[in-house]
Amino acid sequence: MDWLSPQEWDAVALSLRVALWATLASLPFALIAAHLLARCSFPGKQLFNGLVHLPLVLPPVVTGYLLLVTFNLEAPLGQALSRVGIVFAFNWTGAALAAAIMAFPLMVRAIRLSIEAVDPKLEQAAATLGASPFWVYVTVTIPLILPGILAGSILAFAKAMGEFGATITFVSNIPGQTQTLPSAIYAFLQVPGSEKSALRLVVIAVFIAMGALLLSEVVSRRVARRIGQT
């Protein structure tokens, strides 16, 4: 691929990797959070709801700063994690963490709405047919909320691809290590004569985003047909 410079290619590859990991890693937590919000009532639920949605309303730079304060190598948590080999600060994993946290509310929201749309009467019917709560969840609930899970995941992936403020604050903008697509575009725009590099990345960003949207449309339509919600 010589139409992209190594630095540009690195940024694209890193962004895809960061977005993919951010999406996959936050999915189980998003399922749990969505389930708690949709189905359970517990003291402090509103506070929990607020915390989940906080990244959506906080300035991204604030989220990035809080992550930096929590996970830098001098902080207790950062130190503890580095002892077991997990380093977030100024590492691509940190970019994934920042992207995951920023995308989390969107994913939870999509899954929560789909859980709320599931008719509990179907789950009761499954129970009377002998399915334990675990199997009811696996054979009825999950298939019925699959469109929500997919929509949430693709939305989160797109959000993670575009995450800039928290990422650059938390893990900086090191080419080849933490320089994601948006950070690279920003960096190229700061250097006179690099407008063409920026433009190429902008085109790629547009294509990836459009591709994700189209894919989500096709997949969710197919899943909806499969589960009879057409």
Partner: protein
């Protein structure tokens, strides 16, 4: 195996306090909406936890508040046919049918899938999805799904209420076959009198969470003090057996030792069937009427009397082993001097056979 139920449950202003026995066959829970019927079946299925009481099938205890027993819904082996079908939209008809089997692997293989599919006539639907089925088809699949989970008790909560009349006629015969061919008790919730007269073996009449009367349907329906279907629709059901078809198109049956003549019907000699005799179709005469068109004039004695609030009265008559109800005016009661024990003649203007109700009546 018979089901034994005793429950108390409080929900806001509503208090349920009932106990009854449901032997094999169809036990109909009958009452207005809000009388607690659905609460009872949900408690039987384990979908709600009653405040106190006991539920057992044979010697298996499903719930016993004193002993601290409460089997969760998925361990009760109770088949539940819901009003709205509740088929799984993401599974095909075939997968819906076999859903219960995934969890029943260790149970004895009692239910025969192809037999049930054939009986319900759902073979051609197996590869379709629930959203493409008609209301009646959905309900037939729901019946099959509940049966294939090999239940030891079958619950049906107004399974016909969401269907139009034509679909009701389509589904009712299947419940009659279930009643006659299955050896599990069926608890059936309804407030439709047609379902009561066609299906009920045992009738449990509820009002505001309390038991009004429970017992064999023939007995409860012939009690002038209960009239669960409303005084205007009062009437009895008789179990009869075809004796002969006469050349002039009249069929002779015998019910409770008393011969009755009916317009000819499609039933072979020896077949059991259920007759419905409305209280408004029974007249009372003190002497055997001569030269009258009615075919059935039965000697009877007055067994009980119930004066209505208005001009009407209900008279319970005993003829052979049968109990009949007659709806007359209070004026007639006085004019004829009706009182308990008085010998009279019952003139039957009409005897109807609930449609499709021809078949073997289960013994016991």
């Amino acid at each position: 195996m018979s089901l034994s139920v005793s429950l108390t449950h409080r929900l806001g202003d509503f208090a349920l306090d009932v106990s009854f026995e449901a032997p094999d066959g169809v036990t109909m829970l009958y009452g207005r909406s809000g009388s607690g019927k659905t609460t009872i079946v949900n408690a039987l299925a384990g979908l709600i936890q009653p405040d106190a009481g006991r539920i057992s099938i044979g010697n298996v205890s499903l719930y016993d508040s004193k002993a601290g027993v409460s089997l969760p819904a998925h361990k009760r082996q109770v088949g539940y046919i819901f009003q709205e079908g509740r088929l799984f939209p993401h599974l095909t008809v075939q997968q819906n049918l076999t859903y219960g089997k995934w969890f029943a692997s260790r149970r004895e293989a009692r239910a025969d899938r192809s037999k049930i599919v054939e009986m319900l006539g759902i073979g051609p639907l197996l590869n379709r999805r629930p959203d493409g089925l008609s209301g009646g088809e959905k309900q037939r699949v729901a019946i099959g799904r509940a049966l294939l989970a090999r239940p030891r008790l079958l619950l049906a909560d107004e399974p016909l209420a969401a269907l139009d009349d034509a679909r009701k006629d389509e589904i009712l015969p299947y419940f009659e076959r279930l009643r006659d061919e299955l050896d599990v008790p069926i608890v059936y919730v309804s407030h439709a009198s047609a379902e009561v007269t066609r299906l009920a073996d045992t009738l449990v009449v509820l009002e505001n969470g309390r038991l009004v009367r429970a017992g064999p349907a023939t007995e409860v329906l012939s009690d002038p003090g209960v009239t669960p279907l409303g005084a205007g629709a009062a009437g009895v059901i008789l179990e009869a057996q075809v004796v002969a078809h006469h050349d002039d198109g009249v069929t002779e049956v015998v019910a409770g030792g008393i011969p009755l003549l009916l317009p000819q019907m499609q039933a072979s000699v020896g077949a059991h069937l259920r007759l419905r005799i409305e209280a408004q179709d029974v007249m009372i005469a003190l002497a055997r009427p001569q030269e009258i068109s009615a075919l059935n004039v039965l000697p009877a004695t007055v067994a009980a009397l119930r004066m209505g609030d208005g001009p009407g009265a209900l008279v319970q008559l005993r003829s052979g082993k049968n109990l009949l109800l007659s709806r007359v005016t209070r004026r007639s009661v006085e004019a004829l001097g009706l009182r308990e024990g008085k010998p009279v003649f019952a003139v039957l203007k009409a005897v109807s056979i609930p449609r499709g109700a021809i078949g073997d009546i289960p013994k016991g």
